[in-house]
Subunit: 243 residues, 2 copies
Amino acid sequence: MNKIYVTGLGPGAEDQMTIRARKVLEHCPVIIGYTVYIDLIRDLFPGKVFLSTPMRREADRCRMAFEEAEKGQDVAIVCSGDAGIYGMAGLICEIGKEYPQTEIEIVPGLTAASAGAALLGAPLMHDFAVISLSDLLTPWETIETRLRAAAAADFVICLYNPSSKKRADYLNRACRIILEYRDGANVCGIAKNIGREGESVRILSLDQLKDTGTDMFSTVFIGNSRTVELNGRMVTPRGYKDV
Amino acid sequence: MNKIYVTGLGPGAEDQMTIRARKVLEHCPVIIGYTVYIDLIRDLFPGKVFLSTPMRREADRCRMAFEEAEKGQDVAIVCSGDAGIYGMAGLICEIGKEYPQTEIEIVPGLTAASAGAALLGAPLMHDFAVISLSDLLTPWETIETRLRAAAAADFVICLYNPSSKKRADYLNRACRIILEYRDGANVCGIAKNIGREGESVRILSLDQLKDTGTDMFSTVFIGNSRTVELNGRMVTPRGYKDV
C-alpha cells in the first residue's frame, strides 16, 4: 500500500523544517508542490523527481500525487508552513475518497503564526484567533464577522494573506473594523519573508498598521489589550509574574 | 555576549522537533526546563547540564536561565510545543529587562494545534481560535466571552488545557456555552498524548464531547459549520474543490 505524505516545510529555512519532515522527503522518490515551494528544497534533496502544477491548480496537484502513488511509490506533497493550516491537507483528505487504496499521513510544520511570533517576541502568549483576509474562497462578510468577534473578545489576532495586488486595501479595511473595538495605540507587529531572504519584523500601532502596505509574504499580529512593546519586542504577558 | 534560546520541543517525539531546535540543544551546554520536558530529551543530549525547578515556578526557572548565561555560557530553556504559544517566551522577554546584557532568541516549535490537527485529519483549513480553558491566569468570564465570540462567528475552535483534576467540568461548561450557538452534531475531535506513548485520537459530536472526560494531555478541536468526518478523519473543507 503506497502512501502520500502531506508535508509542511515550515516558513522557508531548511532549519525550520521538522526532523520528521526531512526524513519523509529523504524517503519519498517523488516530491510534488507549487513551484515556489519546490524551489526552496530542490537543492536539499538531489536525485528526486520534482513535479509541479501552476498556482491555484491545487486539486490537479492532489490528483497528481495520488496518480504517482498508484504507480507504486511513496509521494510527498509539500506546502510552506503547516500543511494543516490553510494548506493542502484538507483537499488531499477530500480527494483521497476517490483513491481508497492510498494511505495518507499529514506531517505538520511550523506555521507562520508560530514562526512570525518568535521573530517579533511573544505575542501569542494568550488566546488568539487566526484569520485569513483572502476572500478567494471565503465571502468578505464572513471574514468581517470573524474580525469583529475576535476584536470584541480581546483575542490576539493573527492575519494570514493580509493583502495582495488585487486586495491592496484589505488590511486597511480589517484595521478599520478592529478600530471600532480597539484603541489606536493597540500594539501590532508585521513579520515579513519569515525564514527567507529579506526576513524582517516591525512593531507599530494599530493606527499605523491601518496605513501600512503589506504583501502576500507578510503575517500580521494585532495584540490584545495587554500586549506591550518591550525592548523592541512585541509581548503579550500571560500573568505568571502576578502569581 | 551570552544568549538564551527559548526553545519549543514540539509535542514530544524527537522527530517533531525542528532541525534548528536540535542544533540549539546540541550547541548549549546548559538546558533548563520543567522536569517532564527535560525527561523527554535527557537521553538525546548526553553530556549536558540539565537544570529544573518544580511546576509553577516559571519565573524562578527564567531567572535561573539568565544567571547561568551570566556565567558565560549559552543556555537553552525548553518547553513542550511552541515556546511562543502559552509557553515561556513571554516571561523570558519580561524578565530579560533585568538582564540587558543577555541576548534572547525564540526558537519556535510545533504547537499542539498543528500536531493534533495532523493526527485528526485537517480541521484547521479555515479560520480558527485557540483558547485555553485554564483559569489559573485568566478569569473564567474572559474565557467564556471568547468561547461565545468564537462559537458565534463560526471559527474552528482549538481548546488547550481542556480539563484537569481541579477543573474536571470545564470542558463540559465550555461545550454547553458553544451549544448555545452550534448544533449538537457539530463535528469535534480529541487528540491525546500527541507524539508520546498512548497517542490517540477520537472524532465525536459536540453533544458527545460535552459528556467526555479529557485531561491535561488532550487537545480538543471543535469544527466549524462546514467540518465533516471523512473516512475517519476530521476535515474542514476550504473550498478549493468549488473553485
